[in-house]
Amino acid sequence: MSEEKQQVSRRQFLNYTLTGVGGFMAAGLLAPMLRMAIDPVLQPPSEGEFANVGLAVEDITTTPQRVDWQIDQVDGWYKSKPGKTAWVYKDDNGDIIALSPVCTHLGCVVSWEGSESHPNQFFCPCHDGRYTKDGVNVPGTPPLAPLALFEQKVENGMLYLGKAIPREGA
């Protein structure tokens, strides 16, 4: 065994292998972590939470109208298409208002002018809760908070609605 012929010493060989294997292990550990850290960036750009409710902006009047639409909901493995509802109208400034119909008292569905004795108000059939046109609860009736307001946007003349944002009690 001559020293000159030995290109790689035993010590060097062990060093190389250990660095190589160690590097692989470190990479194996770090890659998933890095992938997870930057995951939001890699998500395909989605519509967000907004859904087309099938109502053209020009068809929205100053009288609230009921719109029903369905959203795709994925809950773990369970996919469903729950129905959603909103009351939509234009206010005096021409801004679109989309109110959730869910009564803030116990969750019944309110309707516009649902009671003949209370025109120009939202009316809850369950316990006679009332809301003014802007969705604010009428004091003295059971509800303690205004109706939730939907996030909204307009694209190509169609109305898109997102999540319903609850509002503080009046």
Binding site: G83, C108, V109, C126, H127
Partner: protein, 152 residues
């Protein structure tokens, strides 16, 4: 309110507001094969129906778990059992108990029932979960809601 943990907690907290219960009664049978399709589609549509009614009036209505019975069984015995359910509900106290069904056979036993029988003409559809069916059901639900409100 549905018969779930979350809803029942709300119910216990606001018992005084919830005075109406709905019992959907659903027939089951395997003996007449030619009518199984009808039986199953009735069950699916009645379930959707009951859930939609509950959604509209959830703050005042408790949707009791489904009551199942043999479609061609002894309706008198079933009526007795249904009255036990109704009695249980009335002592809570619920003021109004509705029995929801598509089975016209119950109409003849209506007098034996302590609860209000809500018989609806059933309809058959190709796909109970299609958009058309759901729209059709929504239209009918509005009428039933109106009917229930007339009892309040």
């Amino acid at each position: 309110m549905q018969w779930t943990k979350k809803d029942i907690q709300t119910y216990l907290g606001s018992k005084e507001y919830i005075d109406t219960a709905i019992i959907p009664i659903i027939p089951f049978q395997l003996s007449r094969e030619s009518e199984i399709g009808k039986s199953t589609s009735k069950r699916e549509i009645l379930s959707i129906f009951a859930t939609e009614i509950e959604k509209e009036l959830s703050g005042r209505v408790l949707l009791v778990p489904n009551y199942y019975y043999l479609e061609f069984g002894d309706k008198e015995a079933e009526a007795k059992r249904l009255n036990d359910w109704t009695k249980e509900l009335f002592t809570q106290p619920f003021k109004h108990v509705f029995i929801l069904t598509f089975d016209s056979g119950w109409k003849r036993h209506e007098k034996e029932l302590d609860a209000n029988l809500l018989w609806l003409p059933g309809f058959q559809v190709e796909d109970p979960n299609s958009v058309e069916t759901i729209q059709m059901i929504r239209g009918q639900v509005a009428d039933v809601v109106e009917l229930m409100r007339s009892y309040w």
